[in-house]
């Protein structure tokens, strides 16, 4: 019996640990495109970008129980043969499987506009973080395209390094989609207090400069100049290698509460982490793909348990998804933390402090609290998570 895990990130790691944890004694192989053991990504826009951490600082501890796992690095899955049950790797190697776990995460979406090819960056992995940091260390001013969490964290880190920052984004406010207009505006003010300039509701027309980007031009005709440009405009799930079968691959891999792909029913294909889309049963029945750090661990644990259950009983584990999405974000000296699904709320209520200072903010759908965000108030958020697990 062989479980093939594709993607050597946090979700792949936790899946393997969970399989061993529940007593699976078969073969486990993990294939990863990067040359590294699984490592922690959040510092890439924070500490590692500011201070230059090494890969050894970022690597996750690996449990003793997975010492016998076969790791294949620097190789990526290209296609899957569902009939023959094998995956073709870029090197030409064929890896067979009895059970396949997709843990391939996402990659940054890139701008499709004409112009310069150099001095433009995106940020998902260690290599990109090193390249971006090297370029930032020689820069006086930079342009960040996109005002989501990653764009805003890079902005805060850049200010720490003394670099002037202009943020350009299509949304009306930073972190607009998760936080909404009101909280987003307050976050913009926090950044403006650190001299970040914002160009919102803007559309990029193209890159400025010859070979190397010297900024971007907007459709309004405005030009925003910088020594480098970072694109942080969202993500695309890495699912191309799974095409050609019957899996639902619209926006990630659709899976049920056991993290098992919903079709074809006779195949054992699972998906975990950022690439998986499933219903968060505590909130509603709409499948969602949520990119928060706690979910690779939750889904990896669930997948390991489900796979073992299926292999021993021949039945699918039917346990509802009881994970509460949670993220945090560090910007300047502020720690944001959240539980729940903010995106499904229709109104917000500040229940403590105010949006410009330390605060606790509830996100409501009708009368129900479906999410909470705190700035520098971690300790006050814990009861919310418990509540979500109890009542929603």
């Amino acid at each position: 019996m062989k479980v093939l895990i594709v993607g050597a990130g946090l979700a792949g790691l936790r899946s393997a640990e969970s399989l061993r944890g529940v007593g699976f004694a078969g073969e486990i192989t993990i294939v990863g495109e990067e040359p590294h053991f699984p490592y922690n990504r959040p510092p890439l826009s924070k500490d590692a970008l500011a201070n230059g951490l090494t890969i050894a600082d970022l690597e996750f501890k690996r449990r003793e129980s997975i010492a016998d796992v076969t790791w294949i690095f620097n190789d990526s899955a290209i296609s899957t043969d569902y009939q023959k049950q094998n995956v073709l790797l870029d090197s030409g190697r064929l890896e067979s499987f009895d059970v396949l776990v997709a843990a391939t995460g996402i990659r940054p979406r890139r701008l499709k506009v004409p112009g310069a090819e150099k001095s433009k960056f995106s940020l998902r992995n260690f290599m990109e973080a090193q390249e971006l940091r090297a370029s930032m260390l020689g820069a006086r001013k930079m342009v960040i395209v996109g005002a989501g969490f990653i764009g805003c964290e890079i902005a805060a880190t850049a200010r720490k390094l003394g670099i002037d920052v202009a943020v350009v984004a299509a949304d009306p406010e930073p972190m607009f989609r998760p936080l909404g207009a009101e909280f987003g505006r307050a976050m913009r003010r926090r950044h403006e207090a650190h001299d970040v300039s914002f160009h919102m509701d803007a559309k990029i027309a193209g890159y400025l400069g010859g070979d190397s980007a010297t900024g971007v031009s907007l459709e309004s005709g405005e030009e925003i100049l910088g020594d480098l440009v970072v694109e942080a405009i969202g993500s695309l799930p890495n699912t191309e290698w799974l095409a050609g079968g019957e899996l639902d691959l619209q926006d990630g891999v659709l899976v049920d509460s056991s993290m098992r792909a919903t079709a074809p029913s006779d195949l054992s294909v699972y998906a975990v982490g950022d690439v998986a889309r499933y219903a968060f049963d505590l909130f509603d029945s709409t499948p969602r793909r949520i990119e928060h750090w706690n979910l690779p661990t939750e889904t990896g644990r669930r997948a390991g348990k489900s796979i073992a259950h299926f292999l021993t009983t021949g039945e699918v584990l039917a346990e509802p998804v009881n994970f509460v999405p949670s993220f945090w974000s560090d910007q300047y000296d502020d720690n944001l933390q959240s539980f729940g699904i903010l995106g499904i709320a229709d109104s917000i209520k500040v229940v403590e402090g105010d949006l410009m200072g330390d605060c606790v903010v509830e996100y409501l759908r009708g009368d129900n609290v479906v999410g909470v965000v705190g700035v520098n108030t971690s300790a006050k958020l814990a009861p919310y998570r418990k509540r979500f697990q109890e009542i929603n």
Binding site: N40, P42, K61, R63, N294, N335, S378, A379, K380, R385
Partner: protein, 61 residues
């Protein structure tokens, strides 16, 4: 079993508290408080706490 939290790394997010609230807690000031000597029967939950710590600040011996 010995539990250690690297307080240079810890950002007091309290994720560990959900896994083992008899070992980890956040004080009234929002700072993490933890027990350094923990009974071996709690190993599994403490290891879960190690997993969910965003700063990877917890070690167990």
């Amino acid at each position: 079993m010995k539990v250690h939290v690297d307080m240079e790394k810890c950002q007091h997010y309290g994720q560990c508290v959900f896994e083992a609230d008899d070992v980890f807690s956040l004080g009234d000031d929002g700072k993490l408080v933890y027990k350094a000597d923990v009974d071996d029967s709690r190993r599994s939950d403490v290891e879960s706490a190690v997993d969910v710590c965003p700063m990877q600040a917890i070690t167990v011996e």
